[in-house]
């Protein structure tokens, strides 16, 4: 049962508008659902087929319970399809969505260490505007999980001051676009303190923030602010792409003694996968698809677009390797250079403006450390313009699987 209103706990299937076996296109109405507030028509987030209906017309189920299984089988992957289009891993393992993985990591961290506190706007009683943190306030109480005024300066300042006074705060900045208001505390205070105290006092702060395009939020709620921060020594930048990594990396971030920016792509929140509980240290990239012909380096949602592109490319006989950075500062130099040594071609896919982005930093380290291995290298990023609102414009703005695949084919073919 998808979340269709902030307060809904369950929903009733009024009518399935597609039947099992019936294909549907992205945006087509799938099912009519009654919530506590309204009757909502739920539209397909991607092309696909209904494999089976689990809750028939008239059935009522709790939020998060499955109502149907979907399949992308026999359907060409849409280039701009969000990762939720992937068939849910319905196999044997228990799957968790990205937002629940975040919640679980916070839950475990709060349970493990009473110095950990969590605060932000609407995160406690309401459970977060992206519904990522429900239940923590009820479990840990108002001294450890609390709502703040809409005051990012105070929020970030309180995170800094409490971190150098014995707490390990995790704060949520609702949209990454609001991080401009956090800049002073982060850049002038948090990132400098360990240095200035000559290693005596560190700043164990995690700033979680929701970023990225594809949500039709327009120019000032869709940005990818990573490159605003990549030039700040002393701040780690974490950018997971899967629920398992989100959970593992958030635990590691909270245990880290340095200030960490933890970015959550808003279009990944509904992504489901198995979460095995394995820990992942910060600063380690992962080769998520092995290949010989070209290395695609990306992060967050870009990893899924890159994987989809790699699948498309197999039809053309191109075997792409995909590296998921997972941490953007510090970069995992060794994994990038090792992959480059194998494939000799490097494309970096960054959702974020081309100029000044971290993709350029990856190319720089490849050039400095792997020039002899390099036959070709380039960047695929968003244009140097604000993000447009209208769906066809926004979809064209963000680098998708189709563009990645076609650019790779063009570059490889032209050699």
């Amino acid at each position: 049962m998808p979340r269709l209103s902030d307060s809904m706990e369950e929903g009733t299937i009024l009518q399935w508008l597609k039947q099992p076996g019936e294909p549907f296109a992205r945006g087509e109405p799938l099912v009519e659902i009654e919530t506590d507030k309204a009757t909502v028509v739920y539209e397909a987030e991607a092309d696909g087929v209904i494999a089976s209906v689990l809750v028939p017309d008239g059935g009522t189920v709790r939020l998060g319970d499955p109502i149907a299984t979907l399949s992308a089988e026999g359907v060409e992957p849409a280039s701009t399809a969000p990762p939720t289009a992937r068939p849910a891993a319905v196999a044997d393992g228990r799957t968790t969505d990205f937002r629940t993985a975040i919640r679980d990591a916070l839950d475990e961290a709060l349970a493990a260490d009473d110095r950990v506190v969590f605060f932000g706007e609407d995160v406690a009683v309401a459970g977060g505007v992206f519904a990522a943190t429900p239940g923590l306030f009820e479990k840990y109480g108002p001294t450890r999980v609390f709502d703040t005024p809409i005051s990012e300066l105070a929020l970030a300042g309180a995170a800094f001051g409490s971190a150098v006074s014995g707490l390990r705060p995790v704060v949520e900045i609702m949209f990454g676009d609001f991080l401009g208001l956090v800049m002073d505390s982060l850049v002038n205070q948090m990132s400098k303190y360990w240095f200035l105290t000559q290693g005596e006092v560190s700043v164990p702060v995690v700033i979680r923030s929701v970023v990225g395009g594809g949500g039709r939020f327009g120019a000032i709620h869709s940005q990818m602010p990573v490159s605003w921060f990549t030039g700040v020594p002393g701040v780690k930048i974490v950018a997971p792409s899967t629920p398992a990594d989100a959970k593992a990396l958030l635990r590691s971030a909270i245990e880290d003694d340095n200030p960490v920016l933890f970015f959550e792509h808003k279009r990944l929140y509904a992504l489901e996968s198995e979460v095995d509980g394995q820990r992942v240290p910060l600063g380690e990239a992962a080769v998520v698809r092995a290949g010989h012909d070209v290395t695609i380096v990306s992060a967050m949602r870009g990893v899924h677009e890159s994987l989809a592109a790699a699948e498309t490319l197999t039809a053309s006989g191109v075997d792409a390797e995909v590296v998921d950075l997972r941490t953007i500062r510090p970069l995992d130099r060794a994994t990038i250079l090792d992959s480059l040594a194998k494939t000799n071609r490097l494309v970096v896919v960054e959702e974020g403006p081309l100029t000044g982005g971290w993709a350029g930093e990856v190319l720089a380290l490849a050039t400095e450390g792997g020039l002899g291995d390099l036959d070709d290298a380039w960047r695929i990023a968003t244009p140097d313009s604000p993000i447009p609102y209208s769906p066809p414009l926004e979809d064209a703005h963000i680098p998708g699987a189709e563009r990645i695949a076609s650019e790779i084919l063009a570059r490889l073919g032209s050699r």
Binding site: V117, L153, L155, S185, Q189, F195, L196, G199
Partner: protein, 333 residues
């Protein structure tokens, strides 16, 4: 007496009855004299090219830092400003190490990494001196959150100037502290000028009212008489420590020097500095001590001892080694 400033009502307390503890006040006099002498030494070293970049001296404002520090205890934490040498010395930061920091030496309190504006000394309860106007308020807000949550009974104190009253940090943090009922004391050192600009010309309405509108107890005090500062500091910390939430003190004071090393203070109206010098906190306390029966020779002796102490610090500081250039690790591992 200086003319009262527009928008504030300086409540100079009636100086009735002798000071409660003359020996204590002699110690506080010594501390203020040390700060004044330190600032004069830094200025002199700066002019000789031994102190680099810029410095912001607090000469004239010593009573606020020393008065508040005198009522704080080991549990408390302080966030100060880039005009922070006095705040640091009042808390007991080692004078030699602080001077060596100004001189950029390896023996400095921050190993020469910080300089004048960015001194930190957590062991001395000094979270740090903040080079961004209003940053101290944010740091104290967080410190108060930690002190309260950890059940320490400690209070966080933020010093800031009248200029910070127009920063978002002030409004956001005071509101945050109030709704969370955090043990924080906000001390506005109103020295009349935000950098080169008279505060009245850029500040709407009375300063204290900005706290009062959030139902935070607030008072405006004469920041040149240290006993007044001590009494206000005691009221403020008692309120915050007792669970009453934030407390706001506006201390009316004056800096006898420019904003920073490049400021000659041309914006001051003629005669203003001279009028405020009559209210020099050292003269004010000295007069009070003598009136209450302290022998002038004992105060003269303090002056002489501090002068000798600083001469020794200067000599040692100038002989101390500079740090060797080295690579710094980016992260704590």
């Amino acid at each position: 007496m200086p003319a009262p400033r527009a928008g504030v009502s300086a409540t100079t307390r009636v100086e009735s009855g002798p000071l409660d503890d003359l020996d204590l006040y002699v110690d506080l006099y010594r501390r203020m004299r040390l700060i004044r002498g330190f600032e004069e030494l830094v200025q002199s070293l700066f002019l000789r090219g031994e102190v680099y970049g810029t410095t912001h001296l607090c000469s004239g404002q010593e009573a606020v830092a020393v008065g508040f520090a005198s009522v704080l205890d080991e549990r408390d934490r302080v966030a100060a400003t880039y005009r922070g040498h006095g705040h640091a010395l009042a808390l007991g930061v080692d004078t030699q190490k602080l001077l060596d920091e100004m001189l950029g030496r390896a023996t400095g309190i921050n190993g020469g990494l910080a300089g004048s504006m960015n001194v930190t000394s957590p062991r001395d309860r000094l979270i740090g001196c903040f080079g961004i106007v209003g940053g101290s308020i944010a740091a104290a807000t967080g410190a108060a959150l930690a002190l309260a949550l950890r059940g320490t009974g400690g209070v966080a104190v933020a010093y800031f100037g009248d200029g910070a009253m127009n920063q978002g940090y002030f409004f956001e943090c005071l509101n945050f502290c109030k709704v969370q009922s955090l043990p924080v004391v906000l001390v506005c050192e109103n020295n009349g000028y935000g950098e080169y600009t008279a505060f009245e010309s850029v500040t709407a309405g009375p300063i204290r009212a900005r706290a009062e509108v959030m139902e935070v107890p607030a008072e405006t005090i004469d920041g040149m008489s240290i006993w007044n500062v001590r009494e206000a500091a005691a009221r403020a910390t008692e309120h915050a420590r007792g669970g009453g939430g934030p407390y706001f003190v506006e201390a009316i004071t004056y800096r006898f020097v420019g904003h920073s090393r490049s400021d000659s203070g041309k914006y001051r109206p003629p005669g203003e500095l001279d009028r405020w010098r009559e209210r020099d906190p050292l003269l004010v306390l000295r007069a009070r001590l003598e009136r209450d029966g302290m022998d002038a020779s004992r105060i003269d002796q303090v002056d002489a001892e501090v002068e000798a102490q600083l001469a020794e610090h200067e000599q040692r500081g100038l002989a101390a080694p500079f740090p060797e250039p080295r690579a710094f690790s980016e992260f704590k591992s």
